[in-house]
């Protein structure tokens, strides 16, 4: 059942992005930025947390989960250290993804050449 939910949720988010891309003048860069903000916004009232418990991995894959993890890490630290925790904890949960992307990019760009 969680697999069906994953498929439907991830597909629906991508479909929403595709509809925006086809019918407005916004580019892919605009849409990913909007979706990150949307993911952070949905976490104000724990809505995205509820989606994650129902949908599982399908909610962790779209870029909306990036915003969700940013605000989640910041708030977890803010509970302990007050307002300064919003700054220290911002990248706590997303650091793995960003670091992995940087390292893989560096390694692959050393060994591979542009195709054209």
């Amino acid at each position: 059942m969680i697999y069906l939910n994953s498929f439907l949720f991830a597909g629906a988010v991508c479909l929403l992005g595709q509809i925006i891309l086809d019918n407005t003048k916004l580019t892919a860069g605009h849409i990913t930025s909007i979706f990150v903000c949307l993911g952070a916004f949905l976490d104000i009232f724990n809505i995205y947390d509820k989606i994650v418990t129902v949908v599982g991995g399908g909610a962790m894959v779209p870029i909306t989960s990036f915003g969700h993890l940013l605000i989640h890490g910041a708030l977890a630290q803010a509970e302990q250290y007050g307002f300064i925790g919003l700054l220290t904890g911002m990248f706590n949960l997303t650091a793995s993804g960003i670091t992995a992307a940087i390292i893989f990019t560096f390694i692959f760009s050393l060994f591979f050449k542009p195709k054209d």
Partner: protein, 146 residues
């Protein structure tokens, strides 16, 4: 030639966009990426015997690795032109934008080429993500207290 006639001719020769077809392809390909994410979480949490939260980190890193590798090998670009948002919206699009920028600009040197341009496309995601998370975090911290 009047402007109205000109616009008519331009509209006739514009390539037609198949919006419905694009939507279906984006839905199916995005859904498959979501399925792979959930499948990886189950595989990792079963074989490595770790909780689902840690397994989701492994799954995200795996997706980023394969998106970077396929971009470097050259055939991820073709998939993106077919699937469009189905591969741009998931985390694969983040890795794809970084790796393609890195490989493209590395000819301009390691500092001002690769180093300055690696976040050329992915930087907007991080910038607006951090700013919006900070603002919404402030709002929630002041209203609900964490």
């Amino acid at each position: 030639m009047r402007l109205k006639d000109y616009n008519e001719i331009v509209n006739r020769h514009k390539p037609k966009e198949h919006k419905v077809q694009n939507g279906i392809i984006a839905f199916v390909s995005g859904g498959i990426v979501g399925l792979i994410g959930q499948g990886l979480i189950d595989i990792y949490s079963y074989f490595l015997e770790i909780p689902a939260q840690e397994a989701s980190i492994f799954a995200t890193v795996t997706l980023i690795f394969f998106a970077s590798l396929f971009t470097a090998l050259g055939f991820f670009d073709k998939w993106v032109t077919i699937c469009k948002c189905g591969l741009i919206i998931p985390i694969t699009g983040f890795a794809h934008s970084m790796t393609s920028a890195g490989i493209e600009y590395k000819t301009e040197g390691p500092i001002f080429g690769l180093g300055s341009n690696i976040f050329k496309l992915a930087g907007s995601v991080i910038l607006y993500g951090v700013v919006s998370a900070w603002i919404f975090g402030m709002i929630r911290f002041m209203i609900l207290g964490g």
